[in-house]
Symmetry: D3
Subunit: 131 residues, 6 copies
């Protein structure tokens, strides 16, 4: 059975350019949520190699505005494997382009359930054993 | 001071077409989150007519998959006005195109803080009095 | 037969952010037309609950430029129900973010025809009776 | 003064792929309108080499649905030069990918006004003389 | 057999607006590459009227940054017809909006192979003869 | 001076969903090129922490079609540091969702030049020394 969660982290680097900005010229929160959901989903799929559906998100915190002209890393990792659900933590880090400054700016957790071929929930343990 | 929250509901109807879908041919969760954030933000702005920033979301629940070829309404309303924050509830309803069936499919709450011209938090009450 | 058109209005609120702008930093007209078409289509579908296709638009007037950093409501309503076609009026209203100023900025009418399962035109009256 | 309108036609070829489709798997009308507006605007600018704003569209007719997996040409040309306005006709032609079949599927006219540096209307003749 | 390559040029005019820009407020290179690929593909399809797949690009040169508020023409033409492949040259020209200045800013070549109904390569000559 | 190139790899995982597809229901090549350019640019910036501009791409090879419903990793790494230019190799790997199959599907190299504050080329060595 798979136990090393670190082998399943998923990263998505993005540049903060005009088509990602809100009316304050910082990253539009909805765009950030879209990226987080995609990264959370890929993290869950790559860990289980099974059909997964998003059940819910926990509290998502917007810690700092993300400035135009920076780079962000959207980073997902498995943090909890339950009986029928898994939790993926997604953090967004902002990096200045021209120095090494890097800090966490948005963070939140996404919960997924595994489905079998008839779209019924199945035990995570049975999936991981199979892999 | 404004007290009738119903006067500040915000609606965004959308058609579920191919560019909104995930690999299961249902609405991509990240797209839904993007719409919810935009609607929550507009709801908060229209209520306060003041600069607002997203602080966090509470648990967001994906109740049912949203099928291709349906219509959704993303609906935001003020549910709580605190000292320095307001909470906006956003529900997504799915409507079948060709009958009157309508049901809630995604639901979650967004919290915003008000900022003054120097980007410092200000009391919601002081803003509402001014309006 | 349905006669209360007001029950079928459709609204889509949007924030005017950089990815919606033209080279004058006002709302790109093509983006506005895209929103109007989506809202007109949803209005027509929700009124008839039948397959509808866009036949034409009438004159669409761009009354004022829509500034960056405002909110718009794209608002559709049924204005005429003919034998085989219905007309949907779509108005776009611009709201300042930080005061209650609101004005109509774009307006136009869209005409739809109803189709049956074989993609042949059918009488609107027969559809509305069925609903 | 410029009189040969044909020297100012503007073309935009596009492939009809999933992200351009509506729920009937044909080209979403709003996407077509967005392309037409961009082409009309470029046609007007290239003819006058002056700041232009969209004033209105005339009747736009959707003659046939545009099928997925085809190619379209969005084609703009000047059809009328008035005292202070110019009219641009935009036709969309659909081409089958694998044979030479080509037909007009959408057609409409866009009207533009010329503005000077103070955003006041100016005579088209004075602009064309200058060029 | 078709020999006049000039009959198969393909053009796509675009306005350089905020949603096309990078963090230096010039055209995002990835956006340019996306446009070039679409134009190259359409050029290849219109010449052969046969299923084509992209095999590779040759060196693509970014000659000058493309400024915000300009117009570009993405222009594709057949430059070589081999036994089983064809080469399409795609040039992007930047035009100032308000004067007649026009210059080449990006240039590159795309190579396509023709496939038959079983997705096996077929000779270009046999396709052109058929047309 | 920085010499460990591996510390500067950049990854962008993506799901292949309908809005990324071409008319054959595989990944649209232009979309892939857009992702590769973004990843190449971020790789170059993170290595130098200096203003960089894309000079050219070398041959980009499309090795296999990327199927709908897969996951891709767009992976960039520094492969050559010249006097005034650096080369970034970008590979796209396709992963099946539900098994561990992973293979390279697109590969190409991007070349960047470093600019100083006056937008003049500067020596890469001088930048790396500073960092």
């Amino acid at each position: 059975m798979t136990t090393n969660f670190d082998a399943y982290t998923t990263s998505q680097f993005k540049v903060i350019i005009p088509n990602t900005l809100n009316d304050h010229e910082t990253l539009f929160g909805g765009e950030a949520l879209k990226w987080m959901d995609e990264v959370a989903y890929i993290t869950a799929i790559r860990f289980t190699r099974n059909k997964m559906v998003t059940v819910s998100t926990d509290k998502i915190k917007f810690l700092k505005p993300v400035k135009s002209g920076t780079i962000v890393e959207v980073f997902g990792k498995i943090v909890n494997v339950g009986t029928v659900k898994i939790d993926v933590l997604v953090d967004i880090y902002m990096e200045e382009m021209y120095d090494d400054c890097r800090q966490k700016v948005i963070t939140g957790q996404f919960t997924f359930a595994a489905l079998n071929n008839e779209n019924k929930p199945i035990a995570i343990a049975s999936i991981l054993q199979k892999n």
